[in-house]
Amino acid sequence: MNIDFTRIIPRIPYLLEGVQVTLMIALVAALIGSVLGFIISLITSKKGPLGKLLFLFVDFFRGTPLYFQLFFYHYGLPQVIPGFLPTAYHSAFVIFSINSAAYLSEIFRAGIQSIDKGQIEAARALNISTWDIVMGIIIPIGAKNVLPAIINEFITLVKETSVAAVISVNEIMRRHTIVAGTTFRAFESLIIVGLIYYTITKTLSIFGKIVERKLRYDLR
């Protein structure tokens, strides 16, 4: 077997620098996606024309590949919008944020629907404001119900940032391509890259379990 890590080891720091980029895209997308997704879920939970429109939007982003969405935004739109020339990072931030907003909004919607309507009625009868109902009842109860699904979505997001390599965002997979191309050691580089991704997602899922345990008031 032809395995030799000696040429890869000096390049490990270079690969690891990609972690920052990967995490930055994932983090921004998770944050913006959560806020945007939550707002969308509140609107689509109610019947109304705006809800239907947003649902179409969500449906589109769930129904097309992320790869396509990145290409469409990065290479498609500049052709029809004069002067619109997004950088690779710009396109990645926008598309990953919107894409995860679409997926998260559906998760949040399920969370809102999982809440027993009676508790909200009780709050209304007590004159508790809509804001306090959302912050004090819907979010804490909904969060407990959908936390596993949210963590799952964040893990998927981290893995999918690798697609950003196709518009040459300098994240882990893009760096691998460069390293493999200059050292001719694809296998060894991929082993390192695999370990990096696995470490990130494993950390996230352990973190998720800890938070979940804190939120499970029904197990206290």
Partner: protein, 246 residues
Amino acid sequence: MIYVNSLNKYFQDSHVLDDVSITFDPHITYAIIGSSGSGKSTLLRCLNGLETPTSGVIKIDDVDIFASKDNLAKARSNMGMVFQSFNLFEHKTAIDNVMFALIKVKQLSKEEAFKVASHALDKVGLSHRYNNYPHQLSGGEKQRVSIARTLAMSPQLVLFDEPTSALDPEMTIEVLKVIKALVKDGLKCILVTHEMAFAKEVADMIVYMDQGKILEVTSSDEFFTQPQTLRAQQFLSHTQFKGETQ
């Protein structure tokens, strides 16, 4: 006074409230009775705006409660509600359930809210249950927390929507005892109930409903001894075997 005028409520095709008009005197305790599906819970839920009538007006001292959000909020601040299914906030302990609205609506500090809330819980006999979550309480205890949560807001009137229908007989007695004691203490309420003996004992006036209409509004004594309508007579003959006061 609460004036209900020509209230109609449709759920899809079913006519749940059929031109209901009635005046409630807040100094008197009412029991709304009637068979299931007669519209009594819907009427009660309209009184504090949990249900919006299809047509008709509800005024509390000349304030139309559906005219604006402020009017409805004002009405709700004087009116508590206790539900059949308790509707406790599942992620909060008993004391936090009671404190939540005190802090958010009455703007009390945590210390003040705790004082009021603990007093309310003590009143319903739950001084040992402050830190229990709803899933750790029995049905009767949950309903008593929910009563405490309502009382803590010091409403002038409490709407009880079948408060014991989800409870077994033993817990029913436990919760009815609490409500009776409160009424004896001067609490005014409008009760929707299937417990005839209880209605007879605590209510001054009986509102009898059938198929979305109010058929009788009479004093409790009169209703149970000589109901006016044939429908009410039939209803009572079917339920009277439930017997005398517990």
